[in-house]
Amino acid sequence: MSSSADSAPMHLRATQSGAVGPVVTRPVMRVEGVDVYYGDFRAVTDVNLEFGLNEITALIGPSGCGKSTLLRSLNRMNDLIDGARVEGEILFHGENIYGKGVDPIEVRRRIGMVFQKPNPFPKSIYDNIAYGPRVTGMRVDSMDDLVEESLTRAALWDEVKDKLKQSALGLSGGQQQRLCIARAISVRPDVILMDEPCASLDPIATMRIEDLMQELREQYTIVIVTHNMQQAARVADRTAFFTAQVSEGTGARTGVLVEYGTTAQIFEDPQDQRTEDYISGRFG
């Protein structure tokens, strides 16, 4: 495979900066010309992406390519970091989440997040799930039913139904991560962002999370950052490849989106030399 970007079909062509992806038929989120800064440091530049309904999109690339930074910008978790700033637009159902009058609290409720390290609250399993609906003031007919539904969707109910009052910290790492997924879906978000959700798990726990993601796709839009290319190949419908571009003058590293396409196309027919080098293990 030696084709360059120039020979790619028009709709798959990777441009100099950013990338034009394949047509996403039912986009839930659209990232348009986004740059993310920390103070004066530009961490990511000129990203254009779409995330489709009931699809899993994987963001892959070497360390420091800005994929986690971008992910945290998608639900305004980056607001919590001093000096973080987003330029460009991130549209959620057509509305810019950084627009005037948009409440970041509401953005985060609609766009949930699962973190790299399982982070259950030091409370009971039940209270971990009930926390989100309670603090967001969700109207719930029966909290018990909501807890059961969330845990069932996260494929954890059978393992914990007899110990809902016990501390969540007593669960195994894989169970804790599924609890965090159940917690994320308890507030009924549209999108779930996952930041390397399996990075601290063993292969069997990882497999269970991956199976779970396939089930969750039926109802949610999922964006996952992963270091593990096999994982992206296994679970994702679409894959976006990022890399770090080193500025010649200052030596600053800025993340750029190199290529975005269906997972099959990215892994079997990459249009950019850098993508090919990365997925064939030549760097990163």
Partner: protein, 304 residues
């Protein structure tokens, strides 16, 4: 590659493991250091034991029910520390009620809400550290001045003493609470905020409950420091003959350390024994409070 590795494994190691000298752990340098450490520990323990033994020997004969039930009297045989014990409880209780909410609130603001890069907050932070090192008598002066400004004539009242002691331990409680809050992993905050909780909800429902053991431990240790203080209370005029039970915030009072100070200054040997006996109570109370702090720390310590 494999080949050379195998060779080096099979052949003699480049550095023999048998050095022919004494094991490094047994050489004189480390041994001397260890002996010095033990000596330091010994000195500390010897002084503590001497103090306790001395007090118990001197005050043991006077340590009895009468010490808890009787009022001060002109004869050591009829005197007890009842008002001092009750006074200490009143003052420390009031101090706790005054200080803990303010201290915790200040720490929460500094740690969770204040912009740490702003000069004003940094100045406050630095000053809280400094205030913790201010001599207690200075806080006594401050409380005295404050009460004078308010026009309070009789300054030896429970609320006045509590005010002085509150000023004294407020920085300690703020520092301890900040440590406890800082120990809550940021992942917990992120997890809460990512669900759509507000900053306030996250602080109130996640961060504070998780730091309660640390706050409790710090507060108890700070209060036990206040319990042993005499200087700021002396300044308010607490060195008086109190022969009644304190019964309110405006009531006159004396405390255990001051009662001990008072008795020590009397010429009769009997009062010196009473002072030692009262010291046993004070030490027992301090031990109890510190023990409780350690218990809370170990029992409720969160491991993430």
């Amino acid at each position: 590659m494999m080949r050379s590795l195998q060779d080096s494994l099979a052949g003699a190691p480049t550095m023999p493991l048998k050095t022919g000298e004494a094991p490094r752990e047994r050489r004189p340098g480390p041994l001397i250091f260890l002996v010095l450490l033990w000596l330091s520990l010994l000195i500390a323990v010897v002084f503590l034991v001497t103090l306790i033994v001395n007090i118990v020997l001197e005050g043991g004969s006077r340590f009895g029910l009468a010490l808890f039930t009787e009022y001060p009297a002109s004869s050591p045989d009829r005197a007890g520390a009842r008002p001092a014990i009750l006074g200490s409880m009143w003052v420390i209780g009031t101090t706790a009620v005054l200080t803990i909410p303010v201290g915790v609130a200040a720490a929460v603001h500094l740690e969770e809400f204040a912009d740490k890069r702003h000069w004003f907050n940094r100045a406050i932070e630095l000053n809280v550290q400094n205030l913790a090192a201010v001599p207690s008598i200075v806080y006594g002066l401050l409380a005295l001045a404050f009460l004078s400004l308010l026009g309070v004539r009789d300054k030896n009242i429970v609320i006045g003493g509590a005010l002085a002691l509150s000023l004294l331990i407020l920085p300690v409680i703020i520092i301890a609470t900040r440590e406890a809050i800082r120990a809550v992993p940021s992942e917990i905050r992120d997890g809460s905020l990512a669900l759509g909780a507000t900053k306030w909800q996250t602080t109130w429902r996640q961060v504070l409950p998780a730091s309660v053991p640390g706050i409790a431990t710090g507060s108890i240790i700070a209060l036990s420091r206040a319990l042993g203080e005499a200087a700021p209370l002396l300044l308010l005029g607490a060195l008086v003959f109190v022969s009644f039970d304190p019964n309110g915030l405006l009531s006159g009072f004396t405390t255990l350390p001051i009662q001990i100070f008072n008795w020590t200054g009397r010429p009769q040997e009997g009062f010196h024994e009473l002072a030692a006996a009262a010291s046993i109570i004070l030490l027992g109370l301090l031990l109890l409070m510190n023990g409780l702090a350690i218990y809370i720390r170990n029992r409720y310590q969160k491991r993430w």
